[in-house]
């Protein structure tokens, strides 16, 4: 052993992000400039760090999951890389409006649109709180890609608590 590092992940590799999204059952839609959310900031609801409130709902790429109306924005950061923006509002327990999905092509999301499904909770269940699970999968995909490029074998291990490990053999 030598040292243990804690790392705050920066998303810089769209291919690795795409692998992570696929692993969770979703798809990365490259070039899609909007993502679905509640549509406006209400009172004390949390907003993502480092994102101008006026730009919420806009992105460089979007992440979608089958059967879930809300989606995730892949938003470029000023210093490089991307952050992930999502709205976790709306689900079975908070009075979200459940009806037929008509989608943005019918005028986009709006809080008063009864036909708009607010299902942020379902999205959060897929990707984890604050996209943590998705970020973890991104990290794994990025690690495997880098190890393979260097010709280093990687063994995947799943811990009892569900966390994933990459064990890289160094020659």
């Amino acid at each position: 052993m030598s040292h243990i590092s804690t790392i705050e992940v920066c998303i810089t590799d769209l291919d690795a992000l795409e692998s992570a999204v696929k692993a969770l059952g979703g798809r990365l839609v490259r070039g899609k400039k909007t993502y679905n959310w509640y549509g406006e900031v209400v009172n004390s609801r949390r907003t993502p760090k480092n994102i101008d409130k006026s730009k919420l709902g806009t992105c460089e790429h979007a992440i979608e999951f089958p059967g879930i109306n809300y989606s995730i924005g892949v938003v470029p950061m000023a210093g490089g890389g991307f952050t992930l923006a999502m709205d976790s509002w709306g689900g079975n327990n908070d009075g979200g409006a459940f009806s037929i999905y008509h989608g943005p092509q019918y005028g986009g999301p709006h809080r008063h649109d009864r036909d708009w499904i607010h299902d942020g909770v379902a999205l959060e269940q897929k990707v984890g709180k604050d996209c943590g699970l998705l970020v973890a999968h991104y990290g794994y995909a990025k690690t495997v890609k880098l190890a393979q490029r260097r010709g280093l074998p990687v063994r995947k291990a799943v811990l009892p608590d569900g966390r994933v490990q990459a064990r890289i053999q160094v020659r």
Binding site: S2, I7, E8, R163, Q165
Partner: protein, 62 residues
Amino acid sequence: MNKEIVITFNKDGTIESEGNGFKGPECDKFMAEFEKALGKETKRVKKPDWNQRGQIQQRAGA
């Protein structure tokens, strides 16, 4: 002991990496590439054997 880098991906999006089987700071160069590719290191804890090689050299020269 085989040299191994173990990277654990937590569900909150944080990552922990650890070097096994390395002597002294040689693991730094192996781990740095992965750590740099993944993001920004926010915390580092050196394990007791991080200084192992340096101690041996000191004894030899004493």
